[in-house]
C-alpha cells in the first residue's frame, strides 16, 4: 500500500536538476513520477523510480543529499470532481496532506495522485474505508 519515494536536496543554481537527471540516466534509472518543491534558496526534488536502491546509491556517490520517505499512490477517475472527492474524504477523516502531486496514465481513464501524509497508516485506513483504490508499490513501478 505504500510506495517509496526518494528526495534530493538541490541548491538553487543552474544546472543542478540537469545533473541529477543525468546521473540517473547514466545509471539506467527510469523515472515514474516527480515533483519539485522550490524556495528562493533551495529545492527538493521528489522522485519515484523503478530502482530505488540503485538510484539512491548513484546519487550519493555523486555527493547529493538523498532522503527516503513513504508515500501513498491513489487512483482517481480522470474526470471533473475526481480529485475533490478524495480530498473530501481526507478532510472528513481529519487527515492532513503534507504535499501531493499528480500524473495521468497513458490510458487516460485514471490519474494517479501521490500523497505525502504525516499520519500515513491512518490515511490509508480512511482512504480504504471510503472505497478509494490505493496502488501497490509494484503497480506504481510498472506503470
Amino acid at each position: 500500500m505504500k510506495v517509496e519515494q526518494i528526495s534530493v536536496f538541490l541548491e538553487n543554481k543552474s544546472g543542478r536538476l540537469a545533473d541529477v537527471t543525468k546521473v540517473l540516466a547514466e545509471a539506467g534509472i527510469n523515472l515514474r513520477a516527480l515533483s519539485l518543491a522550490d524556495t528562493a534558496d533551495f529545492g527538493i526534488l521528489r522522485l519515484i523510480v523503478n530502482d530505488i536502491e540503485k538510484a539512491k546509491q548513484v546519487l550519493k556517490d555523486n555527493s547529493f543529499t538523498v532522503g527516503r520517505t513513504e508515500v501513498v499512490a491513489v487512483e482517481v477517475e480522470d474526470k471533473p470532481g475526481g480529485m475533490a472527492k478524495i480530498l473530501g474524504v481526507l478532510d472528513k477523516g481529519g487527515i492532513n496532506v503534507e504535499y501531493m502531486y499528480a500524473f495521468v496514465q497513458k490510458s487516460g481513464e485514471h490519474a494517479i495522485i501521490i500523497f505525502r501524509f504525516d499520519a500515513l497508516d491512518e490515511a490509508i485506513d480512511v482512504l480504504s474505508n471510503a472505497g478509494i483504490r490505493i496502488l501497490k508499490g509494484e503497480e506504481v513501478l510498472s506503470l
Partner: protein, 433 residues
C-alpha cells in the same frame, strides 16, 4: 603520564622564583645583543636593572608581528648564525613571513616540551605517532616529530594531505596517536565514513589537535566520529612551535602552559593593560629559556583566559582556556564583535548540523550582511520544505538570541564547502573596508 615530573609539578613559589631568575638574565641578554630591543627599551624608559622579578614584566614593551617583519629575516636573533641549527617561518599570508631560529639547545628544549605534551595525552614508548602536521617551514610537523622521538615513541612522518593514504597507513601500521589540525581530523573522519572504515577497527586512542581555534562541541564530534580522546595543543612559531601548552588527558579542560619556559600574560587588547587571572583577553608570551630567538611580551593576537585552579593531573602549571578567537579574526558586524568560533558554537549546538560551515561577509550600501552557509547532510535533510526552512530559522534565531547578530542562513549541498588539509578558511570577507 608526566614526562618531567619534578619540573611540571614544581610548587608555585619555586616556579615563580625560577621564572624571575630566567627573566632577569633574558632581559640583560637581549638588551646587550639585539639593537632593536635596546632601542625599544630605551623608548619605553626601562633599563635591564629595572627588571628584578616576574612582577616587573609589565614594564617591558610589547613585541608584535610588525616588529618581527621590520627585522626580517634574522634581525632579532641573539646568537650568531653559526650557532643556529634550524630556521622556521610562519606562512606569511600578509606580506613577508616571520622567521625564527633555533640553537641545538633550543631544538632539544622544544623536543622535550613536545615530549611533555605527548605524554600529557597519554602517549609513551611503544606508541605509533601518526604525525599529519605539515613538514617544512611550518613548525607543526618537525616540532611534533622531534618530540615523539624524544619520548621514545615511533613516529610516522606523514605530513598533511593524501587522505586515503593516511587512512591506509593508520590501518596497516596501527597508528595510536593522531596529530593534525582539528578541521583535518574531521576531513579524515568523513573519508573514513565514506570508505566504510569503522573507527573502532583502528588503534587510535588519542588525537592531539591544534594550529587553529576549535570548539568544545567540535571535540565531542571528533571523539564520536573517530572513537578517540581529542586533546588540544597550542603553540606558535614566534614563541617556539607546538608544545607551548597542552591539555592533559586527566583534566581535558584547559591547556597547561609550560611555565618554566614561557611566561603567559593576559592583556586588554585595546589598552595593553594586564588583566587579572581568569579574565579574557589577548594572550602574551615571554620566552625565558630560548637562546637563538627569545621574545619579550609577544602579542599572540589569540583570545583566551588563564585558569589558576589546580588540575587533577597534578601539574602546577596554570592552564589557558581554549583559544576562542583571534583579535584579527574578529569580525565587526554592524558594530557587534564576532568571532567565527562563536558561530561554530551556535551551529554545533543545533543537532546534527555538519561542522562544515563558511561565513560570507558583505556590505550592501552601508550595512554589513553576514551569510552562514551550512551543508545539508542526510541527517538534517527532509523531503518537506517546512522542515528545512525550520532549520534555517532555528539557526537564525539562535544567532540572534545568543550572539545578537542577524544572519541569513543558506543551506548548501554537501561537500560544496572546501575541505581543509591544514587550517580551515571559515570567513570570506568581501567588504572593501
Amino acid at each position: 603520564m608526566i614526562f618531567e615530573k619534578d619540573l611540571e609539578t614544581l610548587p608555585r613559589e619555586k616556579l615563580e622564583a625560577l621564572q624571575s631568575e630566567r627573566l632577569v638574565s633574558l632581559v640583560e641578554r637581549v638588551h646587550d645583543r639585539v639593537p632593536y630591543y635596546k632601542e625599544q627599551m630605551k623608548a619605553a624608559g626601562v633599563k635591564p636593572s629595572d627588571i628584578k622579578s616576574v612582577k616587573d614584566l609589565h614594564k617591558l614593551p610589547f613585541t608584535t608581528k610588525e616588529d618581527l617583519r621590520k627585522n626580517y629575516p634574522f634581525g632579532l636573533f641573539t646568537v650568531p648564525l653559526d650557532q643556529v641549527v634550524r630556521v622556521h617561518a610562519s606562512s606569511g599570508t600578509t606580506g613577508k613571513p616571520t622567521v625564527v631560529g633555533y640553537t641545538k639547545n633550543d631544538i632539544d628544549t622544544w623536543a622535550t616540551l613536545m615530549a611533555r605534551s605527548l605524554a600529557a595525552g597519554g602517549a609513551g614508548p611503544g606508541d605509533m605517532i601518526h604525525n599529519s602536521y605539515g613538514y617544512g617551514l611550518f613548525t607543526g610537523g618537525l616540532g611534533a616529530h622531534y618530540g615523539a622521538e624524544k619520548l621514545g615513541a615511533t613516529v610516522i612522518p606523514m605530513s598533511g594531505g593524501q587522505s586515503k593514504r593516511q587512512l591506509m597507513v593508520m590501518q596497516d601500521f596501527g597508528s595510536t596517536v593522531l596529530l593534525c589540525t582539528p578541521s583535518y581530523a574531521l576531513n579524515l573522519a568523513e573519508i573514513m565514513e565514506e570508505s566504510g572504515i569503522d573507527p573502532k577497527s583502528l588503534k587510535l586512542k588519542v588525537g592531539i589537535f591544534g594550529a587553529e581555534p576549535w570548539s568544545e562541541p567540535m571535540r565531542t564530534e571528533i571523539e564520536r566520529r573517530m572513537d578517540l580522546d581529542a586533546l588540544n595543543i597550542y603553540g606558535l612559531s614566534e614563541v617556539m612551535g607546538p608544545g607551548v601548552s597542552m591539555e592533559c588527558l586527566e583534566g581535558k579542560r584547559g591547556l597547561h602552559v609550560f611555565e618554566d619556559h614561557f611566561i603567559a600574560e593576559i592583556i586588554d587588547p585595546a589598552t595593553g593593560e594586564p588583566l587579572p587571572p581568569g579574565e579574557t583577553g589577548e594572550l602574551v608570551f615571554t620566552t625565558i629559556t630560548k637562546e637563538a630567538f627569545p621574545i619579550i611580551r609577544y602579542r599572540t593576537k589569540d583570545i583566551t583566559r588563564l585558569m589558576t585552579e589546580p588540575c587533577a593531573c597534578g601539574r602546577t602549571f596554570y592552564r589557558m582556556d581554549r583559544v576562542s578567537g583571534r583579535t584579527d579574526d574578529m569580525l565587526i558586524i554592524r558594530g557587534v564583535n564576532l568571532f567565527p568560533s562563536q558561530i561554530e558554537h551556535v551551529l554545533m549546538s543545533v543537532d546534527e548540523v555538519e561542522p562544515h560551515y563558511q561565513l560570507i561577509v558583505e556590505r550592501q550600501g552601508s550595512l554589513d550582511t553576514i551569510e552562514v552557509q551550512v551543508e545539508v547532510s542526510e541527517k538534517v535533510f527532509s523531503d518537506e520544505v517546512k522542515v528545512l526552512e525550520g532549520l534555517s530559522k532555528r539557526i537564525q534565531k539562535d544567532m540572534k538570541d545568543l550572539l545578537g547578530i542577524t544572519a541569513t542562513v543558506k543551506l548548501v549541498e554537501p561537500k560544496t564547502i572546501q575541505r581543509s588539509e591544514g587550517k580551515a578558511q571559515r570567513v570570506i570577507d568581501k567588504r572593501k573596508l
